[in-house]
Symmetry: D3
Subunit: 145 residues, 6 copies
């Protein structure tokens, strides 16, 4: 056996370190992808299994945020603050993505975060932490997002 | 005894009917006044009794809704939708008053109501009913509000 | 003036006592009427003022409890327990009325109450108290309810 | 008719003013009485109608706050803060009464209020207002409470 | 060194792919196992560490869902809808398992899901997605579940 | 190639088992570290990105739990029970850590757990399970914590 067991272990960790760093890079963008791929997969499954009322409810969920008397940007901020005070991480991610698309800027998102923290209290803070992490990733993912 | 007992009862009810209608008129504007007078009375009492941290929290509650990256109108709609999904009637009344002052119109407030109902679900409906009643009163109270 | 002031006061209180007892009888059935009349009044107002999405949401609220794979009785108990753990008094009253109509009996409603208390905790108790009062009134209102 | 209609109306309002002021005095102490009498009445009714599990749940609600590793005063403050962040007015009144009995002082209750406001957010404020009113009444009711 | 570093990496990934697919199969059934093994482990630990009141509370949690005026199937649907509107994923998994055991069918579970979505609002949707995934796994685990 | 493919697989699993057990030991203390390192990382990021109001809110979150009319131990138990009934796992972990530091003992923490379960209901149980696991780890981490 060339190298012996210890050499094997050494090689094993070399590979592991390479994988670790490649994962580090992949992971960097993975909050968005993880959220969106699971959401898409399960929404597809729901469309296969749900009854008519559930499908109507989902349709209503889409039309509610469409451009109207209030523009999409305002509505998405409303959706975001509601999701934050109700402490729903997936809802927060979804509306953060939509706010990002709608062009909500750094100062604006911080004022939404503040209203959420104030109204909902310090129990919102852990969700705010995760929201900041997700918002950072959205911004790193860039204008191509 | 002039008129007798039955005449007394008759007069009693005449007066009662007059009072009833005058109360009807008074009551018309009373949701706003009841809410605001109790709120003012107790906020005054809080300023007398509260500790420094509570006073700071109240100060923060004021500065958070001040004009900034987002204008007052948008912030008050954010405060309203957060209050509705958390089902806090007094908070709803407060932000409805501020939305009215900030010029939120009929179609806009309905879109805020819809987002609140959708995100918070049908348990928001009783609060939405009371919100519509209060909003109607705010509009009846007119531009002088 | 026959009787004078003190006689007047005496007559006043006689009338007051009569009114009080008639109110006692009226009040006996008034939780149901108060709830239902306000609900009807505001639902009518909502139908006048709401946008299309809100009307669709209300329509969905109706069709969801219609007879289907689960019968109306089961669905109303589901609506009741959900309303209790979310601590929405008006929703509780509504579903108690529907449960009563659907023939939920004394032992069954108590088991729904227990699940609500257990899952939602002791903060449900004040709502449970009011639910018991309303359920008693529904039963007093009789089979003609 | 002695006095005439206008005299009648005058006398009516004299009596009304007397009643109003006597009500003012009565009302002063009535938050405590209203809460406690309704609570007692409905708890009695619950003991008549509830099933065994509900009765066990109520028994557990009592034993949980008994003196143990933590004293009654600490436990009642825990019950109060939990009730405040969950925004249950009746629960708040109950635990305020118990905190008062257990000798929680002005500065201590304010620190409990602050934690509740901070953790639960500004939606707790309306409940905090009512808590301050109730606490004031408990203190006015004096050491005989 | 036989094969050299690149051959090592190749072998490494062959093994990794095998493991990945075996994990894929394992994972298929793992939501149920992960939930149940953690739940069992911690319930055992709780029985070792908890005080008498907590043990009584857990006992009450069991007896509440026993067959009574309402059958187990109805009670488990009540437990499920309450867990969904309160957005407790572990509680949802537990009651989904019990509903599956009690023979709740596809159309019935969808009607429970709809009531939960309607009453609790769109913030329930992420929990509904995870519920659908778990329900699918319960059905794949078959009648032997 | 020395050892061949099967020998490679054997070696692979030997290493895997070693790693697994070392992970087992590491993991043993990792709930605390995972929570604290993420919390620290994101709090740092928040201090970089947040606006003045958010920073004031965070400052208030710190001063609220400082020694005052109530000592730190009591305040941390208040923070814990509030976090449990609001079902915020990260908040629970934070206050469990602080309670541990403040010297809350086994019987005391169980009485806090009981109040949380009772007030918040059986939906608190999954959070209570995770709290027991975290508390065990805090105690294993020992006096050096």
């Amino acid at each position: 056996m060339s190298g012996g067991f210890f050499y094997f272990v050494f090689r094993y960790f070399v590979v592991r370190i390479i994988i670790h760093y490649s994962q580090f890079i992949t992971r960097h963008m993975s909050l968005i992808q993880d959220f969106e791929s699971y959401r898409t997969k399960m929404n597809d499954r729901i469309m296969e299994t749900a009854n008519t009322n559930i499908k109507r409810f989902f349709a209503l969920d889409t039309t509610t945020y469409a451009d109207g008397a209030l523009d999409v940007k305002t509505k998405e901020m409303l959706g975001l603050v509601a999701s934050m005070v109700l402490r729903c991480d997936d809802c927060i991610k979804y509306h953060l993505g939509k706010c990002h698309e709608a062009g909500v800027n750094h100062d604006e998102i911080n004022e939404v975060f503040m209203i959420a923290n104030l109204v909902g209290g310090s129990i919102v803070i852990p969700h705010y932490r995760r929201a900041v992490e997700y918002w950072d990733e959205l911004n790193l993912a860039g204008s191509g997002q």
